[in-house]
């Protein structure tokens, strides 16, 4: 599959009065890629998305979609995009089909022919002729996604697509997004404050905080930068174990997390020696497990501990 840049944000800056909500944000997304846009609420995610789709005008910088500048070639740029901004609001007094027909009429001829196929894709065939006001949140979300796909877009922009969904719904959406990227070559931009969901489906992520991008790169690379994985030792007594493990840890530290649990960054090759030393010191070892370094920790690190 040929990979070309579908979305390019260049130095986006937006001010509300004197407050700079988005400062100099840049990124590129290529076809077939799922790009995660992470940040706590109020970090500037939604404002950035509004600039991407032309709802808000950047004070500085520009957005290009499939090569078309959003502020100058709005219609041509938007013909390549499907989006859900903030929430999947559709017309509650129309049926699912009427909603899709409504948005198909705003696209070049023939978009309505995709409705049956899309209804099947998002598993809404059975309820398509019911009013949207009778839909569950998950169904509205899926209808919103069908709407976004009506124009056979090259780029999907999804703002918090998992908001309000139950775990099963989140998994479905995640699989759907991966399918669209892998099998159809669609570039997907996903914003979220739920790190776990982004971590599992994104190829690359950007972390945004107070309007600035703090880190950006492939998920694996970002995590690798943080060094080896931490190990969690289920031991007794914990204090003594921490003393022993400290000498094996890469950074010389071992931490008692809970009574009976010590975590430490022990390199893989030192694990057998560390266990032998623990046994020699009379520490009883009940188990050792890997605590994989998550985006969550990375996030806490780059944002200085602000929770998401």
């Amino acid at each position: 599959m040929e990979r070309n840049v579908v979305l390019a944000a260049e130095n986006l800056t937006k001010r509300f009065g004197k407050r700079e909500v988005v400062s100099d944000v840049s990124f590129e997304i290529v076809s077939g890629e799922v790009f995660g846009f992470l940040g706590p609420n109020g970090a500037g995610k939604t404002t950035t998305i509004r600039m991407l789709v032309g709802l808000a005008r950047p004070d500085h910088g520009r957005v290009r979609i499939a090569g078309f500048d959003v502020s100058h070639d709005f219609a041509k740029a938007m013909a390549r995009v499907g989006c859900i901004v903030e929430s999947t609001d559709l017309y509650p007094y129309l049926t699912g089909r009427e909603n899709l027909l409504h948005f198909a009429r705003m696209l070049p001829d023939g978009a309505h022919r995709r409705i049956p196929e899309l209804a099947k894709l998002v598993a809404l065939e059975a309820r398509l002729d019911d009013r949207v006001s009778t839909y569950s949140l998950g169904m509205r979300q899926r209808l919103g996604l069908a709407q976004a796909l009506l124009g056979a877009p090259d780029l999907l922009i999804l703002d918090e697509p998992a908001n309000g969904l139950d775990p099963a719904g989140i998994r479905e959406i995640r699989q759907l997004i991966r399918h669209l990227a892998d099998d159809r070559g669609i570039a997907v931009f996903v914003s979220s404050h739920l790190l776990s969901e982004v971590e599992q489906m994104c190829d690359r992520v950007a972390i945004i905080h107070r309007g600035k991008t703090l880190a950006m790169g492939p998920v694996r690379e970002l995590l690798a930068k943080r060094g080896a994985d931490r190990l969690v030792f289920r031991v007794e007594p914990a204090e003594k174990a921490a003393q022993v493990l400290g000498s094996f840890a890469r950074d010389g530290g071992a931490r008692v997390d809970d009574p009976g649990t010590v975590s430490s960054e022990v390199p893989r090759e030192s694990v057998p020696d560390a266990l032998a030393a623990l046994a020699a010191a009379g520490v009883r070892v009940f188990g050792v497990e890997k605590q994989s370094s998550t985006l969550e920790e990375l996030f806490l690190e780059v944002t200085g501990g602000e929770t998401v």
Binding site: A56, A75, K76, E86, M106
Partner: protein, 325 residues
Amino acid sequence: MKFAPLVENEILKLLKRRRFRVALLILIALNGLIVFAQTQAKDRKPERDWRIEAQERVARMQNWERSGRLPQTQLRWVRFEIARVQYHLDRNVNPDAISGPLFARAFANASSYLLLPLLAILFAADIVSSEFAQGTVKLLLTRPVGRARVLTSKFAALVVAITLTVALGGLVAYLFGGLAFGYRGWGAPVLTGFRLAGETLDPGSVRSLPLWEDALLAFGLAWFAALTVGAIAFLTSVVLRSTAAAMGTMLAALIAGTILPRVAPSWEAQRYLFVTNLPLPDYYSGSPAPITGMTVPFSVVVLTIWAIAATAVAYGVFLRRDVLA
């Protein structure tokens, strides 16, 4: 990208919602009520010669006029009414004869300054702001259709809705009126264009038209008045982005328009307010204008300027403003 499907969308959204059905029901209920009330009044009256009744009315009004206790505004109306009834008497035409077509014609006069503008507001105040309230504006404005086209399609749908409402209002009035007073009489002559020249009637301005032509003109003017109110409500909907706020503003304006000419008839500048100009079918058919000197062409010009200015500002705001709802 074709324009017709966009207008189709907007009309569909207008018609699918409860407010259009409510408007229809209001038209039916009001017309039914008025017809019912009028038949009740007619039934109680003994069958008498209309000439005698009209003569008595003229005499009664002449007494009022001479009593000197009437305020200036009412005096003006009384003099006009005397002249009008007298004119009909002289030509042996019953000034109060009623028929289905006449009832429909009267509906245009009665509804142009309050009912039809009210219904126009009902549609227009919500047409843009509801998209903001539902959040659907974010989808509407991220489709490959420029903002100007989206707004134009909404305006076109509004014009269609107002036109339909005025036409339906006339139709319902005719159907109900016909039920009570008979369906025939579209060709009957109507005397119109009464105007006071000083103290007496200026006969030069009186014309005789077939009723259908007269009714068409009156409905045209009522339609135009409703359209102007619609354009201004459209502006408030764009600017305020809240249906309740837009409706409140427009209702306050309408109420001011019905009160002002009564409490402050000497304030001449109110002739430039759009609300003062709304009863134009009324003074087209000869009633005195709310403010002396207002004529139908004058009102048409004033309303046109208001409508164009409101629409221009609405476009200016809608095209430029960031959507952050």
